[in-house]
Symmetry: C2
Subunit: 464 residues, 2 copies
């Protein structure tokens, strides 16, 4: 694995930016996730720290002023207008160097502290290149977006609904299954999600399909993988090098209209059921920051085939997983109006995915497909073995025994609704529901780091 | 339909750019397809005319100098650096106005003729804004790429191979089926295509999949639809307005690795079998130029369901089709070395597609999906009823009776190879084969217009 644990992961490090030292923050100095702002007062890559955002380019200039001679200028990192695209293409060594420089400038004992503080020019700013407002509604433009299907628990659950005798297709344990999604509708956290309209399966064989707002509207809890360096068309990224090409991870909600999906998805896969919106969290937690939270790749049960050689490496087997705890919270309109807090409806982990992020990227490029900086890969719904670790309502409310009234997606199955603190029930999402994804990494001896939130409120379908 | 036949379609119009008057050219003054060059001596939108390319922005400036007062400046069209993005978003009325201005400047009786000729500054240039070299290897960056499946003959043929008793799935006649493709690997005509590598189905149930270069490598003849104006996220493009949002059409080769496709495509659709490369022709034949070649939408056989209301309009029924004759030519390495010409292996028409281009675009956006200027929609393989109008080798060489040796894609079917003039045979593509797509429109009383060519040579798989 290219990223090592070093002094930047020291749990005792604190920052002179006080909000970063709050034990509850997702963004201590050990995290330093990336974000971008493409216009406004600041253009370029930012680093989230506590409640603030630090300009990466300015911070690296400051580091060089303080003798941190790392040639950031030569790779375009000290030019804020270039940093957004340049940073994505760095080598792991260059990225670690940048991380160390940022930590050197922003830690509590930084020699730059007094200089920077003396330059504070506006109330609320703690330094000239530190911005008081997080860029929660900004994101880098995604080039191409691909969605995987890497949780065997999710694939088995969904397959069981559609094909009870044959839940997993024969290719699943050999091929990291994926399909292309729509890049133009990847939106940042906080964007309203209008309930999609579309065709739904006829109620009887040979009948006319229905048409109207989706009745079976769902979220999917996923992890987004942001590609850093790309590869040329006609070449591929070997498994040993795959993580060199990954910038970091974020949270991703693959909103899904199940009734549209069921009717349209054969034979070419999901289309309108998914492409109206995909929400991502605005911060990219870097692979450098995640170094302490790496785990072995998922251990395949006895009898499962080994991955083909192009998907196998010792490092991937030993450290290919990432232990991220993932939660889904629901916040209905009624809950908001009553002043309640959102309620958690599931909790799972990313470490039990059947395919690792390195395997996803290597598989994607093995045919010669060109990956580009800023490409986004969704992991597929993250579901675990336990019922409360299922990453979408389709699975969470599936096949109980206390309710059998419509809507039922799959004939012969029943749906157990989730009960909210207001007494409301949900089999699928209602208008006004806000879905909030959260993610964080914890390990004994290390500072907890978080992903922030990935939020979206379901708005009523428009008239058509 | 927004585009009318007018004086710019007069078959007697000639240009003072002599090469445009050659009866064999695809690019007479009645055509004027768009292209772009993003760097080099010329940046912006070009208009192909005979063997030359005219700068659209410069031509419109010249038109305004000659009293053609159309406020092109106010919509950004006279700035070559903005024209590429501005032109894509014009209304049909603005586009027709621009077309008339270009014809006014470039026709044989143009008042600008002497001015422009007097300004000729370099050998080979016929005017200061007319470039001698066609931009055959340039194209605008594609935002998102979606591939449809709009030929019922193709869908039935392919379905028959996989599901003899049930070739067409129940959704086909209701839903314009489509899936998202990879935008970063859409390449211009002339780009070499490296044979992809990937997993192939095990030879026996439960066995290990194979891995290596695709053995069943194919082209797919398609028409590309280039989106002009987009729509906002959460809105849709009604069928009555769909053609206002279409800039024009091009040729598209959806290269396909059938053995990869068969193993990977369930349940989420084609992925690595397609995303290594998609070739497009460099010229976008505008909807304005195609006005004389519009036909009624495909007449559905008795008993077929009517499209749902959101996919139906009187104009679409009356003029939704486009009569483009499409040809596929093959040019093997041996043919090239013997000085032979490419050989045509199929000839079909675009007018018999089950779904029209307006229906494709409206369906794509009906769920609120945001379309953007420069998005590309593939029509899906254009196949007709006749055997020699099938648009890919999978169909062309399918189910004959003289050959049954491997490779056979589908158990129980046989493949009749195509015989080339050298005596070589092809069931699928061999290394060194060049595939050349051609397209043109002909109608009594109108000048023939063409699409140019969409070419690509298959190169050997790399070592892995």
């Amino acid at each position: 694995m290219p990223y090592e644990i070093d002094e930047t992961h020291d749990p005792n490090l604190e920052s002179w930016v006080e909000s970063a030292n709050d034990p509850a923050t997702d963004f201590p100095i050990q995290n330093l996730p990336l974000c971008c702002q493409l216009d406004g007062s600041f253009a370029g890559v930012g680093v989230r720290l506590g409640d603030h955002v630090v300009s990466l380019a300015d911070c690296l200039v400051e580091a060089e002023n303080h003798g941190f001679n790392s040639k950031f200028d030569s790779v375009g990192l000290t030019d804020p207008f270039r940093a957004a695209t340049q940073f994505w293409s760095l080598t792991p060594g260059q990225r670690m160097m940048a991380r160390r420089a940022v930590v050197a400038m922003l830690n509590a004992d930084s020699p730059a502290r007094d200089d920077i503080s003396a330059n504070s020019i506006e109330e609320g700013q703690v330094g000239p290149y530190i911005h008081p407002e997080p860029f929660d509604d900004e994101m880098l433009k995604v080039g191409d977006y691909t969605d995987f299907y890497a949780s065997v628990f999710h694939a088995t659950n969904v397959g069981s609904m559609f094909r009870p005798d044959n839940p997993l297709l024969p290719n699943y344990k050999h091929v990291p299954i994926a399909y292309h999604g729509r890049a133009s509708t990847v939106v940042p956290s906080g964007t309203d999600i209008v309930r999609p309209i579309g065709q739904q399966a006829p109620t009887e064989d040979g009948g006319s399909p229905g048409f109207g707002p989706s009745k079976l509207f769902d979220y999917e809890l996923e992890v987004g993988v942001v590609v850093g360096r790309g590869n040329e068309l006609g070449t591929h990224i070997p498994i040993e090098e795959a993580e060199d090409h990954i910038l970091g991870l974020c949270l991703l909600n693959d909103w899904s209209a199940r009734d549209l999906q069921k009717w349209e998805y054969q034979p070419l896969g999901p289309f309108l059921a998914k492409n109206f919106a995909t929400t991502v969290s605005p911060y990219i937690v870097t692979m450098e920051a995640l170094a302490p939270f790496r785990t072995p790749a998922y251990e395949r049960p006895a009898g499962d085939p080994r991955p083909l050689p192009y998907l196998t490496s010792d490092a991937n087997t030993a450290h290919g997983g990432v232990d991220i705890t993932l939660e889904v919270h629901i916040f209905s309109k009624q809950m908001r109006s009553k002043g309640m807090d959102p309620v958690r409806i599931s909790k799972g982990t990313f470490k039990d995915m059947y395919w690792t992020i390195a395997q996803m990227l290597t598989h994607h490029s093995v045919n010669g497909c060109a990956m580009q900086p800023g490409d986004l890969l969704g992991s597929g719904t993250v579901s675990g073995k336990a019922r409360d670790s299922r990453g979408c309502l389709l699975e969470l409310t599936w096949d109980g025994d206390s309710f059998s009234d419509p809507p039922v997606l799959v004939p012969g199955t029943q749906r157990t609704p989730i009960r909210l603190p207001t007494g409301e029930e949900r089999k699928f999402l209602a208008d006004g529901d806000e879905v909030i994804l959260k993610g964080y990494c914890e390990r004994e001896g290390f500072r907890r780091i978080g992903f922030g939130e990935c939020r979206g409120i379901v708005r009523p379908a428009r008239q058509i």
